[in-house]
């Protein structure tokens, strides 16, 4: 493992996105746009205040899942991964290169959406703004790691996109966006206990409603961080030097 190799890989991935203005615009502006829509479709500040933290968890998660699964699928299919695997670079360098590059993208995305919520749409955050930001970015990294993992099971970009409803859609439905998790049918509430997005949403809800750094909040953050690491490890396991 080497910091040098991680950073040149990050730089390469940023270079690939840099020319792609449309994707950059979509990634940074669409979540913000959807936030504005949410605010004025219901046209109710209390309802927005309840939904906004959940949405701040969901949007980066979904967008990073999509962007990463397509980007790493291309790396696998185009032969560049095979080429890299013959070179003196560790799988972890490559993986972390992706994590840092898309993590930075997530920082921008969350920054735009969160600032908009705070300064224009009137979201009131009782807890630490920095921590809220950190959780949303961690959540984006989770989406990224899952996207990287599932790209191993897709043959085409079309298939990769189809994994989104399965891996992200189910979590979005069960994470407490539509109804609080403890109001769902018992089985679903139990299932949602095993889905990492639920904890990201819980953490963001806690931080917007209370200034206290509660044990529950720390637990939630811990679960999201652990799941991100687990998904990254699973993603690493799908990168193989030898293939059939």
């Amino acid at each position: 493992m080497s910091l040098r190799l991680t950073l040149i890989t990050t730089w390469r991935i940023i270079g690939q996105r840099r020319r792609d203005h449309r994707t950059l615009a979509l990634v940074t502006l669409v979540p913000a746009l959807l936030m504005v829509l949410m605010r004025y479709v219901f046209d109710s500040k209390p309802l927005f205040e309840r939904l906004a933290p959940t949405l701040l968890a969901i949007f980066p998660f979904i967008v990073m899942f999509l962007v990463t699964s397509v980007a790493t699928l291309r790396e696998r299919r185009s032969g560049t991964l095979e080429r890299l695997m013959t070179m003196p670079i560790a799988k972890l360098d490559l993986l972390l290169g992706y994590a840092v590059a898309f993590g930075l993208l997530a920082v921008i995305q969350v920054g735009v959406a969160a600032s908009l919520c705070l300064f224009w749409l009137g979201l009131d955050v009782k807890g630490s703004f920095a921590l809220m930001f950190g959780i949303a970015v961690l959540d984006a990294v989770l989406g990224m790691a899952l996207g990287l993992f599932v790209s191993a099971f897709a043959r085409t970009e079309f298939q990769a996109v189809q994994f989104m409803p399965l891996f992200a859609g189910t979590q979005v439905l069960l994470c407490g966006l539509l109804v609080p998790r403890d109001h769902m049918a018992g089985v679903l509430a139990r299932i949602s206990d095993f889905l990492p997005l639920s904890y990201a949403v819980d953490a963001l809800k806690l931080i917007t409603t209370s200034a206290e750094l509660s044990r529950e909040l720390i637990q939630d953050i811990g679960v999201v961080a652990a799941c991100s690491l687990l998904a990254l490890a699973a993603g690493a396991a799908t990168l193989r030097r030898r293939t059939a």
């Binding site: 040098r4 190799l5 040149i8 890989t9 730089w11 390469r12 270079g15 690939q16 996105r17 020319r19 792609d20 185009s78 032969g79 560049t80 095979e82 080429r83 890299l84 695997m85 013959t86 070179m87 003196p88 670079i89 030097r241 030898r242 293939t243 059939a244």
Partner: protein, 245 residues
């Protein structure tokens, strides 16, 4: 020191549930240009992948520069260009070279040198996605040349090129093997391309038909050219395994 750059013993490879290399043996001499020829689908790419160490192998041994293929010590000592160009379409030619050069810790002017070698200096700022097929495969070839590796494994590098460019690239390959003492293994499904190589490996259906100099292959089969030699050799083994010709 071993005089062979690559030694393959009893190599069996299964892909997609069928055996595609059937206990294959061959050796590649050092500091020479070896052509691996055979019809499409005979297993050339699979054999080259096994040498590079990216192919899952069912049985057998592949030794490269004195070490097991794919071992860590070999990474960066082998230049490899896959059949389909393995470069980033959304980067410029030069940015591609810079990235791979940084991984290989190649000398700073390496990128400019290989651009010249493959004749892409003028296209260096172009986005790879906007290159023609021939320019694309030369970009991929340029990456393989970056750190002046002692062993170059090139999978059909001349596919889809016009005759002039093809001629130029073969001249470059000869030069790399001759002046710089590199070992080159270049695959092709065009028999003619192999005629001027020092060594020839003829392949068919996952087996080696012949491994000799082009002259030796012609002589031993009593053929005018390699095409004819291949037909004769293929006919023999076809009879030997009892498949109708």
């Amino acid at each position: 020191m071993n005089s062979c750059a690559v030694e393959v013993e009893g190599l069996r490879v299964v892909r997609g549930g069928t055996e595609v290399l059937h206990g294959l043996d061959c050796s590649i001499p050092r500091s020479a240009l070896t052509a691996l020829v055979g019809p499409s689908g005979c297993g050339k790419s699979t054999l080259l992948r096994a040498m590079v160490g990216v192919q899952v192998v069912a049985q057998g041994r592949v030794t490269v520069l004195g070490r097991a293929a794919g071992s860590r010590a070999l990474r960066g000592r082998i230049g490899y260009a896959t059949e389909s160009p393995a470069v980033y379409a959304d980067l410029s030619v030069r940015d591609n070279l810079r990235y791979f050069a940084a991984i290989l810790k190649a000398e700073a002017p390496a990128a400019e040198l290989v651009l010249e070698q493959v004749g892409l200096t003028r296209e260096s700022e172009r986005l790879v996605a906007q290159l023609s097929g021939g320019q694309l495969s030369r970009t991929s070839l340029a990456v393989a040349l970056l750190n002046q590796p002692e062993l170059l494994i090139l999978d059909e590098p001349t596919i889809g090129l016009d005759p002039v460019l093809r001629e130029e690239l073969w001249r470059l390959f000869h030069q790399l093997a001759g002046d710089l003492g590199a070992t080159l293994i270049v695959s092709s499904h065009i028999m003619d391309e192999a005629a001027r190589c020092e060594q020839l490996l003829m392949m068919r259906d996952g087996r080696i038909l012949a491994g000799d100099t082009p002259e030796g292959v012609r002589r031993s089969t009593g053929s005018q050219d390699l095409e004819q030699a291949f037909m004769r050799l293929a006919g023999e083994t076809g009879a030997a395994v009892g498949t109708p010709a």
